[in-house]
Symmetry: C2
Subunit: 350 residues, 2 copies
DNA sequence: GTTACAAAAGTTATCGTTAACACATTAAAA
DNA sequence: TTTTAATGTGTTAACGATAACTTTTGTAAC
């Protein structure tokens, strides 16, 4: 008793058989197109409801050759900006009748590939990729693109003639952040979180270097800390540790910096911890600038000067570009959108 | 020139035609089952590569009647605990060869339904739902469950004989948090963020009430703030505002509380802002306890005493329960997992 | 030389849905 | 009354992949 047989989902044919019409008629009722008499429609609707009918999306999509679904690959969803990005994308897509599936890929090329694969396997109509570049992932991505799946990248360093690209101006952001410190009179300015990954952090470092150069401040290599290995690069909250350790190293220099620019806010927060531990004051002894303007930045003490990225805008642009690519049959030129970022001055520098 | 025709994806038949074999042979090569001569295999592989073949997942899944994909519906991905949850689920599933698609549904029943629908449409093998309960969503969910899609809920208040349930012990968490304050000698303890939504926050409030009762402290309704409307309930960073406003109200009482218990950490942080603005000290003038132990909690000043939820564990349990339901054909009894939470004492209370 | 069987391929039908076409029936227009 | 058009419904053939079955070939055993 009580053992229910695993009854399968009802299909169009089941309903058709039950009502005594052709499956096609049921299909017409369900989709509300074509001619169906009111009488038949009602009967079909009733039976469909009774049998708890639900259209099989696989068959439906297979037949229609589109899914109206977009895949988004995010690394590091811990980072609040990923959230904003995802929401902006979802809202834009939703307004155009598209669904959004998100896959997470932290750390590795393997996870990147797994995410791409599962999304492409489900025949998403397009892909937005917001993870960092890596060799295996890029290769796989190339394959996807060349099998004609529309792809838009957000901040991922991967060039391809038919892949659009959205990013913030990390170069200028790094420049502004550093210039702000220079304007405040700092001359020994450290950089925390350099990697050779070639991603956004490298651009930020370059902006830092440019600002120094423009103000004729010689670059002191010892003031630039980071890691060589970009492979096991860990994002989000864990870069806090990087900031902490990087700052420790800077503090141990014979002549320590009077200001530091951290590759992102988590790194900056780690650095702040190290500074406080050393009994120094922020910003009096050491000023600090972060990057991203995460919500936490207004809660640190002191509040953190940082560079804000327009995440919502990036998401909106990416979604719009993708929709355009999907809906136009023409093969278009690669497009690039570099958005400005904004220096947010708080108490950690003044 | 340069105008590329939108070449369609190659299919098994295309390859078959090209090589001069039957589609089935190509299928055998691709899936590595059945007998195929080495010679044929190589030829097929070569052509497949040339044509950039990629299996059509829709057709594949339609035929096999399963997708090895699980859908996760998250509200409020801003909240770091959602991240942990998602990662734990993903890791567990991945170890069993399942993919994870995440859909976001903030705020409304409409978005809940949209998320359910798009996941079910893609024939996910099962569903994990971690959004708050709401009428429309629950109704739709019922329909899904009754069309035999395995579903597991995380912290969502919705009872159904074949839907498993995972949650933390919010009742006891609220109790412990309040008792901690009582143990410190507080007698006028406020509660911020009560809603009538019937979700976890109500349980936390109940725990608060139970603790007061057990210590013979009379309940003062004025010390309990919150909102009546549960519909437009906004999660995540935005509940900070709720905490701020709630605290303002408590501070304006003729006899203000000496301690407050906030429904979650964001609310607590909002409350802290209000306390500081009023020129009061934490915890000397007002002690405060939050709930969730978000990463931010160790960065507030003072650091925040809070109740930690075992998010990873919840995710793991949910994923395991779901996999069991999927893999066993028997219809099982409803199972429930209530996990303990842990009081984390920091500087905001002592 | 027949039997036996593994190996290598092909054939057919199906998963559930729907576009395209075909065929009735009815109603309106000429 | 005949023509025309609209309405209601059925049939067929895909979408792309594959399970289940059949056929053919090769070859070793008796």
């Amino acid at each position: 008793m009580g053992k229910v047989k695993p009854k399968k989902q009802a299909t169009l044919s089941d309903i058709a058989a039950n009502v005594g019409v052709a499956p096609m008629t049921v299909s017409r009722v369900m989709n509300g197109n074509g001619y169906v008499s009111e009488e038949t429609r009602e009967k079909v609707m009733r039976v469909a409801k009774e049998m708890n009918y639900r259209r099989n999306g696989l068959a439906h999509n297979l037949k229609r050759q589109r899914t109206e679904t977009i895949g988004l690959v995010l690394g590091d969803i811990s980072n609040p900006y990923s959230t904003e990005l995802a929401n902006a994308i979802r809202e834009t897509l939703s307004a155009h009748g598209y669904n959004l599936f998100i896959c997470i890929s932290e750390h590795s090329a393997k996870e990147d590939i797994a995410a791409f694969e599962s999304l492409v396997n489900h025949s998403v109509d397009g892909l937005i990729v917001a993870t960092r570049s890596n060799k295996g992932g890029d290769e796989y991505l190339k394959g996807i693109v060349e099998s004609n799946v529309p792809v838009v990248l957000i901040g991922r360093d991967f060039q391809h003639p038919s892949v659009d690209f959205v990013s913030t101006d990390n170069l200028n952001g790094g420049f502004e952040a550093t210039r702000h410190l220079i304007d405040l009179g700092h001359r020994r300015i450290g950089f925390i979180g350099a990697t050779l990954s070639g991603g956004s952090s490298l651009k930020r470092l370059q902006g830092y270097l440019n600002a120094l150069e423009q103000h004729q401040i010689p670059v002191d290599e010892r003031l630039i800390t980071g890691r060589k290995e970009s492979i096991s690069e860990v994002p989000g909250y864990s870069t806090e540790k990087m900031g902490y350790e990087g700052m420790k190293r800077l503090l141990s220099l014979p002549e320590r910096p009077t200001a530091v620019f951290a590759r992102n806010d988590f790194t900056a927060i780690g650095a702040m911890t190290a500074i406080k531990e050393a009994g120094l004051r922020i910003p009096e002894d050491i000023a600090i600038v972060g990057f991203d303007d995460i919500p936490l930045a207004i809660h640190t003490s002191p509040t953190l000067t940082t560079v804000r990225q327009p995440m919502r805008l990036q998401g909106q642009f990416a979604a719009q570009m993708l929709l355009q690519r999907i809906e136009s049959s023409e093969t278009e030129e690669r497009r690039e959108q570099i958005l400005n970022c904004e220096l947010i001055i708080r108490k950690s520098t003044v």
